[in-house]
């Protein structure tokens, strides 16, 4: 499974057609804030490349803490970590994947990772994201699906709303089927930081 990197490669190079529309409240007539009034209190400013690299690596470490109790990433050498960052920075998929593929493996006796790294983003709450512990495999050995995850940690996302207003569940701007096994999504549709970043968006009315 982990050799099948074509999906991620397609995503990396933008070959999966994505189409999005802006919500009404994302469109503003207001003038943009002058650059020198950067909202330090609300946004990460990223003062240097080192800061961004550190942020990226700390996401990677957190993802591996969930997947492998940090064993895989800690076994890597400093140069492997550097290669992950350089691959991302220089847009070199093969350089990146040469190391990242190891983070997508799991022991033969298991059916998947220990926990799945994910974050769910919604527009309806003040909370920046939802992140919880969630196993890819149920006690009976069945693979958990994307739908199972949402039902457990974010039921309002897929519960039918009154008036029939549904939500779109997006990863990389596309809507994977809710029946997709979460383990597969984690191996193939994770972002470069190894997290599944899932957006819940109200269905556009037009």
């Amino acid at each position: 499974m982990t050799d099948d990197k074509d999906v991620l490669r397609d995503v990396w190079f933008g070959r999966i057609p994505t189409c999005f529309t802006l919500c009404q409240d994302e469109i503003t007539e207001r003038e943009a804030e002058p650059y020198y009034n950067f909202p330090e209190k609300d946004l990460l400013h990223c003062p240097s490349k080192d800061a961004i690299e550190a942020h990226f690596m700390s996401c990677m470490k957190e993802a591996d803490a969930l997947k492998h109790k940090s064993q895989v990433i800690n076994e890597m050498q400093k140069k492997d970590h550097k290669q992950l960052w350089m691959g991302l920075q220089n847009d070199r998929f093969d350089q990146f994947w040469a190391i990242n593929r190891k983070l997508m493996e799991y022991p033969a006796e298991e059916s998947g990772f220990r926990y799945i790294p994910f974050r769910i983003y919604q527009t309806t709450t003040e909370r920046p994201f939802i992140q919880k512990l969630f196993r890819p495999v149920a006690a009976d050995g069945q693979l958990h699906t994307l739908g199972d995850l949402l039902k457990e940690v974010c039921p309002s996302a897929i519960a039918p709303e009154d008036g029939g207003k549904k939500n779109q569940v997006m990863i990389h701007g596309i809507e994977p089927m809710l029946e997709t096994p979460l383990q597969w999504l984690s191996e193939h549709l994770s972002y470069p930081d190894n997290f599944l970043h899932i957006s819940i968006i109200p269905q556009p009315t037009d």
Binding site: E40, K41, D42, L43, L44, H45, C46, P47, D50, A51, E53, A54, H55, S58, K61, E62, A63, A65, L66, S70, Y115, P117, E126, R127, P128, F129, Q131, K132, L133
Partner: protein, 203 residues
């Protein structure tokens, strides 16, 4: 350095050692704010008005609302800095994590370099060797605002020996107090001894 004194910060930190930890990702966090004059002299002690939010599991938010007006009793020349420390629980690493930020009273945030000026010499050299390896800026998981975060990946490593010994001699320790006494001072949060005394009485 003046700390707004609260024993409650420690008493509510009844987090079990990771091995036996079964807690869910809670929605709470512990928060501690203190004010400091930039040149290090002590400001008059403000009376803390602590209000608690009940009903939160594990780490309740014991937020201290400080009256900025009381801090203004200080001579206008020395800038006053507001330090904020939050303790959250990381599900991913299954340990507590220290989030912190600092700003002037007008809201201007301090940079990481500014914060280190308040840190004791003995920690500074080590930290400066790889500042971004140990501290990153991240979104606070509940507030969403940028905070500096001390990497939790080494926490298990240094806490395991701390936990082993008391278990041998059947003495209770407070995990969070011990942990905080190790990581806090690195980023300018010093714990008074009374925290440890309160912790051992609490058990």
């Amino acid at each position: 350095m003046l700390c707004t004194h609260t024993e409650k910060f420690a008493l509510r930190s009844s987090c079990s050692p990771p091995a036996g930890c079964t807690m869910d990702c809670s929605d709470g966090y512990m928060c501690k704010t203190h004010l400091q004059i930039k040149n290090g002299t002590v400001a008059p002690r403000p009376r803390p008005s602590a209000h608690e939010q009940t009903g939160l599991p594990m780490e309740e938010a014991a937020e201290l609302a400080l009256d900025d007006a009381e801090a203004a009793e200080v001579p206008a020349v020395s800038p006053v800095i507001r330090y904020e420390y939050h303790v959250l629980y990381s599900c991913s690493f299954q340990v507590p994590v220290l989030y912190f930020r600092a700003s002037f009273l007008d809201g201007r945030p301090l940079t990481l370099e500014d914060i280190w000026e308040g840190v004791h010499e003995c920690y500074r050299t080590r930290l400066l060797q790889g500042p971004w390896d140990t501290i990153t800026q991240q979104e606070h998981p509940i507030l969403g605002q940028p905070f500096f975060v001390l990497h939790p990946c080494k926490t298990n490593e240094f806490m395991t020996p701390v936990l082993k010994n008391p278990q041998k001699i059947n003495r209770n320790i407070n995990y969070v107090t011990s942990w905080l006494s190790v990581v806090g001072p690195v980023v300018g949060l010093n714990l008074p001894l009374s925290y440890a005394q309160a912790a051992s009485q609490d058990m």
